[in-house]
Symmetry: C2
Subunit: 342 residues, 2 copies
């Protein structure tokens, strides 16, 4: 049984260190030859995790050529796209190229799919030098191969939406699903979303509303985002504050929320999120820039009796839920569409 | 109201960067002169966080003199004891030395107390050069002053227990309280504790049992710990595995748990904890060595539908619960006492 779990999780593709699982590995074997339980994807596009892209872009001073070189170097060295600073990756879109006879994923050659497991654990080989990418956007046209394991997750892309839209929505589909579940389980009425005008933020607001929340506060970083979020109608109240300034967040958010969802992509939002949350309430951290110790020690240091969740990117049904929120909610579309490249 | 929250949380003691709260600050003002809402403690002993002490000791090659010098340098530079690598601190014991006329903490001069807020946010000045400490233990005899804010938490030390015992128990009192709450809320029957022979692990096992869990698995790293845990009677089954080897953890733990509690003090236990947990179950991370992104992306990458909690060091009643578990449970005492210095 263990050998099955081991293979299903892709441990056989780990080159270094031995015994690690793919996400924790330093280096994966990205050989395009597949095993009987694997699937090979012909890559069309990568979508870099927002925290990773921001870090790369800032460390390169916004120089797109340097960002491209950095991504190529990472993938070449590691056999996967995992930013060594942020630890995060992203996802990809492509066409099913080969399916092992024993793969349980139910995919067939020629289907266009998006991977819903992180790039941080997906064996990846690039063959085009990313020449079609200018290094200035999270969405990266790419050619090469990626490998799915028996326990990987991939969504067949819907026919009714452009690929870049599906990719953008699926990239963050864990957030609305988990938000909906927390709101339902706790019966939360007041929900605050930090970073509310982004992809995961807007979908989380819509999911909270659909799950029964009645009082939604969206916190954004500037007036332009406030105007866009206000026009979307997703929040009952829009406030502007620097999410990394805890006291400013507390002042802007007002009455503490039953559930606070953190969707900002910069470090340092932990304490503001805790202060924005009522005693007995719940904070859900979706930002990959979240610091575990800052959250744990911050809540303790503020004597805050709040439940803090590590946002799990996987909740059953998450892909369908997010796509349906996009289709059915013009406010969500108004915030996501400008972030999607043609 | 904000000025009150700001002061209550100690923001007025932050020197750098401006606007930060004390835990996130690079540098605090540790001036022993107190404000009207503050309390000054005459420090007797620090208890360094296990992850922090381990990191310091390893980076100094086990040289106690070097560890002592490193701690002194950190406190001098930062005005608090916060390990810059792990981000963690610990707690302290001392005697109430001065109480501001407006302090809401209810303390009186002369009481012996332990701080239940982290050293990472406690202004601290050392005056003895830590000369009474050999740098080889987490418990550090010390002289100096520490400052409590209006919203800090301190526990008056009980008369019936030696101070080092109280300090050791209170240092980890968040873990059993949070474990008990999760077991009660979820109705968990099967609970696995990783790092079960340590302070937080043994208390968490006892708390899980008291909260109604019926099937307790304790995972430890070697046969010596297994023998000690076995003799304590705290676990129904004791297994030995390297907590940083996910597949070994899964194999050793056997049937996945409803709740898994992570108390190991080394990095890399996230994936094993997820694999040891049943679909729909809960993982509670208490180790300050936990990586947020490893937990979030690992669960996603394994398509694991588990709820993951950031262990909050504060739960109302946590100090009394932990001390009572120590008093009432010979198994807990058998594991904690050898870790307490005379």
């Amino acid at each position: 049984m263990l050998e099955t779990i081991e293979r299903a999780l892709g441990a056989h593709r780990v080159l270094e260190p031995r015994g690690a699982l793919p996400q924790a590995a330093l280096r994966l074997d990205a050989d395009p030859a597949i095993g009987p339980d694997e699937v090979r994807i012909a890559v069309e596009r990568l979508n870099l995790d927002a925290a990773s892209f921001r870090q790369l872009s800032e460390s390169c001073g916004g120089d797109g050529e340097a960002v491209r070189a950095a991504v190529l170097e990472i993938v070449e060295a590691r056999g996967k796209m995992q930013n060594p600073v942020t630890g995060s990756g992203g996802m990809l879109i492509g066409v099913v190229d080969a399916v092992g006879s024993g793969s349980p994923l139910g995919l067939t050659v020629g289907q266009r799919v998006a991977t819903l497991v992180s790039l941080t654990l997906t064996p990846l080989r690039l063959t085009d030098g990313l020449t079609a990418w200018d290094g200035r956007s999270e969405q990266v046209p790419a050619a090469g191969t990626a490998i799915l394991f028996a326990r990987s997750i991939a969504a067949v892309l819907p026919d009714d939406l452009p690929d870049p839209v599906s990719l953008a929505v699926l990239d963050v589909c864990g957030a609305p699903a988990a938000t909906a579940r927390v709101v339902e389980r706790t019966g939360a009425r007041r929900v605050a979303v930090l970073g509310a005008a982004g992809k995961s933020g807007s979908l989380s607001l819509a999911a909270a509303r659909a799950a029964g929340a009645a009082d939604l506060v969206g916190l954004v970083r500037n007036d332009a985002e406030a105007a866009a979020l206000g026009a979307s109608g997703l929040a009952d109240r829009v406030v502007v504050a620097d999410a990394t300034d805890p006291l400013a967040v507390a002042a802007a958010a007002g009455t503490p929320a039953d559930v606070t969802v953190v969707c900002v992509d910069v470090p340092g939002a932990e304490h503001g999120a805790v202060l924005a949350t009522a005693e007995g309430g719940t904070v859900v951290f979706f930002s990959m820039a979240t610091s575990f110790s800052a959250a744990a020690l911050g809540a303790e240091g503020m004597a805050a009796d709040v439940t803090m969740l590590v946002g799990n990117g996987y909740t059953p049904g998450h892909a369908a839920l997010a796509l349906d929120l996009y289709r059915s909610n013009a406010g969500v579309r108004s915030l996501i569409d400008p972030r999607v490249e043609a």
